[in-house]
């Protein structure tokens, strides 16, 4: 569109000028009379932005937008290292403000350097700005790809800055930053020599640390994220294995060669597709595979020759991503071992490759990242202080202008942005570094079974930011539903959990059900559904707490539907076992309803987490506690105990029924002892969990009574409306459970009958307080027993990861809660509460179980 000068347009300003004859046209309208287009409605225009009104118009006060030249004229390139350090820290603070929920235009892009990287000539700011720009684009791409955009919705409108631009490669940016780091080191050393002052070295080290921090973040992301997510704007490359992707043209040539080979192979005699274990077939298959691998190796070598060389910053003996530390992969023995025997190099040049995160390298780098983040935190004070010691919105620093990128802010009302101080941001980055460290070490260990997988995700996402939540999602499912890009899907941990805890007949090789084709098919259907649900639930952990809760409601319905598939497998199991005369009736089956129990166990677990999220988001008010805690204690905790006890019973029955348990064969004694030890360990954990749940049910009972006491004393007010209003509130709270059927679908009458709550309102106050105290006392006794159990069996319990430790810490937190509530009961009985503040307090670790504080 060609430019037309303003003067060529027909001016109509006269319409608006008073005392002009044409203006009287407007003045001639009556009050309230509007002249509109035919389809105009006032309702539509309610959301119109009133321009020049500061509360509605973001563009007010942006008459002069600061440019890079303005910043340079203000002294940006001055030889002032404390100021430079302050600029770097402020930039990192802006990234934190963005990740905490504000838009890019009001945070990161307020630094004019970041939108004009190519024009910066300063030796320190140029690499730093390039690095931060790339980091922001990578994080943007990551969050966009995962799709958990709730906290950052406005930024995912088309961003002008990202379109139609060419950017430096990550490798070049990192080289630039490392060169500057070396230069700073030399500079610091020479200044220190000249002046004899340590300060010079400290400041140079501090600046170098910021650069190193950015390089480490970029490197770690490159190891943990697939390249098409990590850097989607660069050069349209395609990943075929190894660390560097290849260009599209090279990929086209590779594809042509592969197609030619495929045609040649089609002319060869076809192999059986059904798995045939006859030695001849195996050998033929092996040879066929060898031929294919050799050809692919040749093609891949050819592609590799033409691809760019790896970065000099990477170690030469760098392992390919496919050799990540995934225990599931190490169990996939046969084909891998054959392959390793045949191939002596280029194990990454296999068939077109799934990206797998390289945890080893990422762990090493993230260890260093933690150290650097602490160094940054300790050196924030070396930067220039803000006016009156306030950082504010950093306008006092040359490159920052809060309106600099007002063009980037979408059409919405202005929002107040909370800018963290540089110290707050530095603390935030140390926590983020710790989370990244956890991500580089723990996900492979968390795939042992489904409980560990979800427990890790739950604990991780509670306090993580949108960046690390998204990173967890991409690490676990980098390209598709395979865990960590490996050969396993969620089906494997699900099956492991089933096998270890519920031992269904269909998974027992000695059982006739195992070989029954229909039972296998039904089981596979069930497993398929369960895996899909597992992936959906896991992906919900990438969202914020509110969205997680919404998605859990959907998961509850799906899990209830999966009961149908579980029921089909159970039915077939019973039929086969009765037909094989192993049992006379289905109840005699030692693993009767094992799969259904497994599904129910997970259903109860998800419900528990659903309520936990409600407490974390502060959704429940104290006058709702009677029915909320009744459900958590009477239904949730008790059914969780039931499923755990059932699991223990099944495992014990299975062990007793197995030939290994009664064998006298000397050669098998070692195996028998190992299995017994393993079983003993499991039972200790089961016992721990059962006692824990029992204690929780007692605590919930106590809280119900305490809530009634507070209502009776007038400390907690219930809204008007009596039972009817309470019924409506009850039904609203338990609406997501409506479709689940008994025992989880509860109604108000059930609550009234089971708790006998009307009696609790009549009983003597002191008796009620004593009853509540007794509940807490019993819970305390159980938890103390639990504590001793932990101490006595510390070597037996699965404390191999910090996440196992956290589960143990939860029980000590519960002990504190019970003790606090016992004290509160005593005070309620003895003390006059007038003038005292009595309220429920929610512990940070376990907000689900509050304690009463009286101040």
């Amino acid at each position: 569109m060609s430019h037309e000068s303003f003067s060529s347009y027909v001016k109509v300003s006269f319409l608006l000028i008073a005392n002009n004859p044409s203006c009287t046209n407007f003045a001639g309208l009556s009050v309230g009379e509007m002249v509109t287009t035919p389809k105009f409605t006032l309702l539509e225009v309610m959301s119109a932005i009133e321009l020049m009104e500061p509360k509605m118009d973001v563009g007010v006060g942006a008459s002069h937008l600061k440019t890079l030249d303005d910043a340079i004229a203000d002294g940006l390139y001055g030889d002032d290292m404390p100021m430079q350090l302050a600029v770097m820290d402020a930039t990192l603070a802006m990234v934190v403000a963005w990740l905490e929920g504000s838009s890019l235009g009001t945070t990161v892009w307020t630094n004019v350097m970041l939108a004009n990287v190519a024009k910066i000539t300063h030796p320190l700011f140029h690499p730093f700005a390039a690095g931060i720009n790339l980091l922001v684009r990578n994080i943007y791409s990551l969050v966009n790809n995962v799709g958990n955009l709730e906290e950052l919705p406005e930024d995912f409108n088309p961003q002008n800055l990202f379109n139609n631009q060419t950017w430096m490669h990550r490798r070049d940016i990192i080289i630039m930053m490392r060169e500057q780091m070396h230069a700073l080191e030399r500079q610091g050393a020479s200044w220190s020599k000249e002046t004899g002052s340590r300060r010079a070295v400290e400041i140079c080290t501090a600046c170098s640390a910021r650069l190193e921090f950015v390089t480490l973040m970029l490197d770690i992301m490159s190891y943990l994220m697939p390249p098409e997510i990590e850097n989607p704007h660069f050069d349209h490359k395609i990943y075929v294995g190894g660390h560097e992707p290849i260009s599209e043209k090279d990929y086209e040539d590779l594809e042509k060669l592969r197609l030619e080979d495929a045609e040649e192979q089609r002319e060869e005699p076809k192999e059986d597709t059904v798995e045939d274990t006859s030695p001849g077939k195996k050998e033929h298959k092996k040879n066929g595979k060898k031929q294919k691998r050799k050809k692919n190796k040749k093609h891949a070598k050819q592609a590799k020759k033409e691809s760019p060389k790896t970065s000099p910053t990477k170690p030469e003996e760098e392992k390919p991503n496919s050799s990540s530390a995934n225990p599931a992969e190490s169990e996939d023995v046969d084909d891998e071992e054959e392959y390793m025997e045949d191939e002596d190099d280029c194990s990454s040049c296999d068939d077109p490759a799934q990206f797998t995160p390289n945890f080893q390298f990422a762990a090493v780098l993230s260890d260093r990242l933690i150290q650097i983040s602490h160094l940054i935190k300790n050196t924030v004070i070396l930067g220039r202080r803000g006016p009156d010691n306030e950082d504010g919105d950093y306008k006092w620093l040359m490159p920052f202008d809060s309106k600099a990128c007002v063009r980037m802010i979408p059409a919405c009302f202005p929002r107040s942005v909370k800018y963290p101080t540089r110290m707050e941001a530095a603390v935030w980055w140390t926590e983020c570094a710790q989370r990244i460290y956890d991500l580089s070490r723990l996900p492979p260990k968390s795939t042992k079974d489904i409980n560990m997988l979800f427990f890790f995700a739950q604990q991780f996402t509670v306090k993580s930011c949108v960046f690390t939540r998204s990173l967890l999602q991409v690490i676990m499912f980098p390209t598709d539903a395979h865990l960590m890009g490996g050969n396993t899907t969620c089906a494997e941990p699900i099956e492991d959990s089933l096998k270890n805890n519920f031992m269904p007949q269909v998974l027992d090789k000695d059982s006739p059900v195992h070989d029954d084709p229909l039972a296998r098919q039904l089981y596979l259907n069930f497993l398929n559904q369960m895996s899909k649900l597992a992936v959906n639930v896991y992906s919900s952990f990438g969202c914020n707490l509110s969205r997680q809760r919404d998605r859990l409601e959907m998961a509850l319905e799906e899990l209830a539907h999966i009961q149908f598939y579980a029921g089909q497998v159970e039915k077939r199991t019973d039929e086969v076992m009765i037909a094989a005369k192993m049992i006379d009736c289905k109840e005699q089956n030692s693993s009767f309803h094992s799969i259904a129990s497994f599904v129910f166990h997970n259903l109860v677990g998800i419900i528990h987490y659903y309520f936990e999220l409600g407490f974390r988001m502060d959704l429940f008010v104290p006058y709702e506690f009677p029915y909320i805690f009744w459900f958590l204690g009477e239904i949730d905790a008790k059914w969780m105990m039931t499923t755990m006890e059932r699991s223990q019973e099944i495992q014990l029955n299975y062990w007793k029924g197995s030939s290994l348990s009664t064998t006298l064969n000397q050669r098998r004694q070692k195996e028998k002892q190992a299995r017994e030890a393993d079983l003993k360990r499991r039972f200790v954990v089961h016992q721990f969990n059962v006692l824990n749940q029992y204690a929780i049910s007692l605590i919930c009972e106590g809280i119900v009574k305490l809530s009634v006491i507070l209502i009776r004393k007038g400390i907690v007010r219930v809204p008007d409306g009596g039972d009817e209003a309470e019924r409506l509130r009850f039904e609203r709270r338990f609406e997501p459970l409506q479709n689940l059927g008994p025992p989880l679908n509860v109604n108000y009458e059930q609550f009234k009958a089971k708790t006998r709550i009307d009696e609790l309102y009549q009983v003597e106050m002191n008796d009620l307080i004593d009853a509540a105290a007794e509940n807490f006392n019993q819970a305390k006794a159980n938890l103390e027993q639990l504590d001793n159990t932990v101490e006595q069996n510390r070597t037996n319990l699965f404390v191999d990861t910090m996440w196992s430790m956290k589960r143990l810490l939860n029980s000590s937190e519960l002990l504190q809660i019970t003790k606090s509530n016992m004290v509160a009961c005593r005070l309620l009985k003895m003390m006059n509460l007038e003038g005292r503040k009595v309220e429920w307090t929610y512990p940070e670790q376990l907000p689900m179980y509050p304690y009463l504080s009286i101040k």
Binding site: K11, V35, T37, F40, I49, G59, G61
Partner: protein, 106 residues
């Protein structure tokens, strides 16, 4: 359809005329000629707003549809899309009628 604010009658504030719309006044017809056209408005703070005027009133409070905002008239500079925007007369420095867009050849 003419919309009228209530004149003291105890009815809804904004009511549509149940009967046939009254004959529009000459003034109304004259102002109507400016509705539905595209304008460029320069605000007192220097911004340029382009949009199609869809409503106005006695005090020349104007509502624009498909409005965009720019800080310079140069065509190569970025533009921020606003959607619907309302501009009060007191903030208008200049206002120009934009020519009709030329037909593009496909």
């Amino acid at each position: 359809m003419q919309l009228k604010m209530s004149e003291g009658r105890s009815r809804d504030l904004i009511e549509s005329q149940a009967t046939e719309p009254a004959e529009k006044s000459e003034v109304h017809k004259k102002v109507q000629e400016y509705i539905g056209k595209r304008y460029e408005v320069q605000l007192t703070d220097g911004r340029f707003i382009r949009g199609t005027m869809i409503a106005t009133d006695k005090d020349a409070n104007m509502v624009f549809n498909k409005a965009d905002e720019r800080w310079t008239v140069k065509a190569d500079r970025p533009v921020r899309f606003l959607g619907q925007a309302m501009i009060s007369k007191k903030y208008v420095k200049k206002m120009c009628l934009l020519p009709d867009p030329k037909e593009t050849e496909i």
